[in-house]
């Protein structure tokens, strides 16, 4: 199954978005957790300072003046403290401790230390331990140089961490939820955007489905298309233009073919109908039958040419490469024109040397030469001469062979067009027998053989059609 654009775009959007969201969540979580833990530690520090401040020296006695701290007294999630002197005597304990004891580190550690502990009621907690000198009772009111107590109190304060843990947990849940919501909405948006963006392609498809040969002329509209599709449609329009031209050519070709076949068909029918219209003598019937056969042969030649042309159009013909003796081939080709040319008083001169040869495909070369001779036999004026020459003599070296006729010449404005299919501009040379595909076919076949076919008028008033090794990849050595 083909993977849809929508699917691929959605996967990409979701992938990128998920990565970004996960990274963002991690950072957010880390920053937030750090802040929460710091805040907790700050509170522990404040608690410790407050508790330490309650221990004072009163002469030789160390006193603890407890002031109510509700957090240290309540039953539910209480905070804890414990204070003791350097000699190990416990100075004070928070009411929440009850009979329990608070974990604490080594005594006489000066710097405040924070550790994770297990609270007496089993909760996970965090404890801060600090050691500082006792406050002197009259220090606050004393004037003069301050006195510092030489006795120290160590205070441990602990609080449960559940609030921080719960807050972070809740935050993680929210991040998950929001992340999923973002991904879902983004995928939906991607799907929608792609569907909407591709809507013109569906319109385009519907339009294309409705196209038939007659509508090829109408170009597909480019206006409402997304920029990415416009070049595709522009190319499609070019394709449509080419198809239209091709269809038009095809149509013209069919019309021309039917036209070329109608005339001999009309002649055949009329000849037979006239012959059958009354009782006739045997010679009259023979003459009519002869005419009919001649017409049928012409039609056959036309059909064969058309078929060869169609084959040529559908790809290069498979060409054999063999040594072809030109003189014998030309003589062979001429045989079919001998009788009609003789009737028009045409002279035929085959001036090719018996040794002249070319490496090519015999049958395809025959097609070329036959059509050149047919053309010459049809157009040369009564009593004229058709002469065929090959390499040697005054002909250029690259020339394979030339068919000369004694005229009339082809007008200069017509000459470039004589190789076009069904070209009938050569009206002045027409005797009506000719149909305009012979030369077109001859040139097509010659080119498939790697040969060039050109026509020119001579100063003497004749026409020369020359087959030469004019193409770069000439099929001859």
């Amino acid at each position: 199954m083909r993977r849809s654009l929508r699917f691929r775009l959605t996967v990409a959007v979701v992938g990128v978005l998920a990565t970004v969201l996960v990274a963002l969540s991690f950072v957010l979580h880390a920053v937030f957790a750090r802040a929460l833990w710091r805040e907790l530690d700050g509170r522990l520090r404040d608690d410790a300072a407050a508790v330490a401040g309650m221990a004072e020296e009163d002469g030789a006695e160390s006193e603890f003046e407890y002031e109510a701290l509700p957090e240290f007294e309540r039953q539910w999630r209480p905070a804890y403290f414990e204070a003791w002197l350097d000699d190990g005597r416990v100075l004070a304990r928070s009411p929440s401790l009850g009979a329990g004891d608070l974990e604490h580190g080594a005594a006489r550690v000066a710097a405040p230390t924070i550790t994770d502990v297990s609270l007496p009621d089993g909760r996970p907690g965090r404890a801060l331990q600090l050691r500082q000198p006792l406050r002197l009772e009259d220090a606050a009111s004393a004037r003069g140089p301050a006195r510092v107590s030489l006795r120290f109190v160590t205070v441990v304060v602990a609080r449960g961490t559940e609030e921080v843990v719960e807050t972070l947990g809740s935050m993680r849940r929210w991040l998950w939820l929001l992340g999923l919501l973002s991904i879902l909405s983004a995928s939906a948006a991607a799907v929608l955007a792609v569907s909407r963006g591709l809507r013109p392609t569906r319109a385009l498809a519907a339009r294309l489905a409705g196209l038939d040969a007659a509508q090829l002329g109408r170009a597909l509209p480019l206006d409402d298309l997304p920029a990415e599709l416009a070049p595709v449609v522009a190319k499609m329009n070019e394709l449509l233009t080419r198809l239209r031209a091709s269809f038009a050519r095809e149509k013209r070709f069919t019309a021309d073919v039917s036209h070329e076949l109608r005339t001999p068909l009309a002649a055949l029918r009329t000849t037979l109908e006239v012959a059958a219209s009354r009782e006739r003598s045997a010679p009259e019937y023979r003459s009519a039958i002869g005419d009919a056969v001649a017409i049928a042969l012409q039609m056959q030649a036309l059909c064969e040419n058309l078929l060869a042309l169609a084959r040529l159009d559908s790809g290069p013909l498979p060409a054999r490469r063999e040594e072809v003796g030109l003189r014998a081939l030309v003589q062979d080709c001429w045989r079919q024109f001998e009788a009609p040319a003789g009737a028009r008083g045409l002279k035929f001169e085959n001036e090719i040397a018996p040794t002249a040869a070319v490496v090519s495909d015999r049958e395809q070369l025959r097609l070329v030469i036959s059509n050149l001779l047919s053309n010459a036999a049809a157009y040369t004026t009564l009593g004229g001469t058709i002469r065929v020459r090959a390499t040697g003599g005054d002909a250029p070296v690259a020339t394979v062979l030339e068919v000369h006729d004694s005229g009339p010449t082809i007008p200069d404005d017509v000459l470039p067009h004589v190789f076009e299919r069904f070209f009938r501009g050569d009206a002045t040379r027409s005797d009506g027998v000719h149909c305009g595909i012979g030369l077109s076919l001859a040139r097509g076949v010659a080119e498939a053989l790697g040969l060039a076919l050109t026509g020119r008028n001579t100063p003497e008033g004749g026409v020369i059609f020359a087959v030469s090794k004019g193409l770069p990849d000439a099929g001859a050595p």
Binding site: A255, S258, H259, E260, R262, T263, P264, L265, A266, A267, L268, R269, T270, T271, E273, V274, S277, R278, A288, D291, A294, I295, R424, A427, T428, R429, S430, D431, G432, V433
Partner: protein, 228 residues
Amino acid sequence: MRVLLIEDYAPLARSLAQGLREAGYAVDATGDGAEGLALAEANPYDALVLDLMVPKVDGLTILARLRARGSNAGVLIVTARDEVSSRVGGLDLGADDYLVKPFALEELLARLRAVIRRRYGAPANLVTVADLVIDAGARTVKRGGQPVSLSAREFALLEYLALRRGQVVTRTEIWEHVYDFAAEPSSNVVDVYVGYLRRKLGDGEGGAPRLIHTHRGLGYSLEALEVA
């Protein structure tokens, strides 16, 4: 009736000319547009059978030039081009009818008869003058209900007189419409054929009314005069 055939495909021109001649027409044929135009301008053809794609001067140009010169010859276009636009173009230029190749000879002859009829203002193939009935389609003649056997030339002469009945037709006109270039011109050939025709029709004999009248110094006419 005299017809000019302009068709450049020799086998068709040959058989078509033969078919037309055997149908009683005097036929001149050419495969060359320029020659065809010259012939059509020089001779009062009753009809042209015109191929459109002929060398030198194409059929439509011939038609346009003829109509521009005021020629009213019937024109039947015979062509391999069967597109509607081509038909419309030909008819609009003044062609009387249009036939696409290949065609049935019978149909071509029928259309040609119709074209010529129209030219002479005759509504049907049947022309009746008193007790003389001439059927141009079946090429039969009856006088008083009895069939009369005529040669092709005699029938052509009678047909022409019938189409122009009531009018005096000169010898030159008869010559121009009944004979083609293949016929040897001679001074009294028309008079001789009129004589043959009168005899075969029994004109003015045995109490039958005279229908072919001689107008001295002018020509002949075919009509039923009430003067007995």
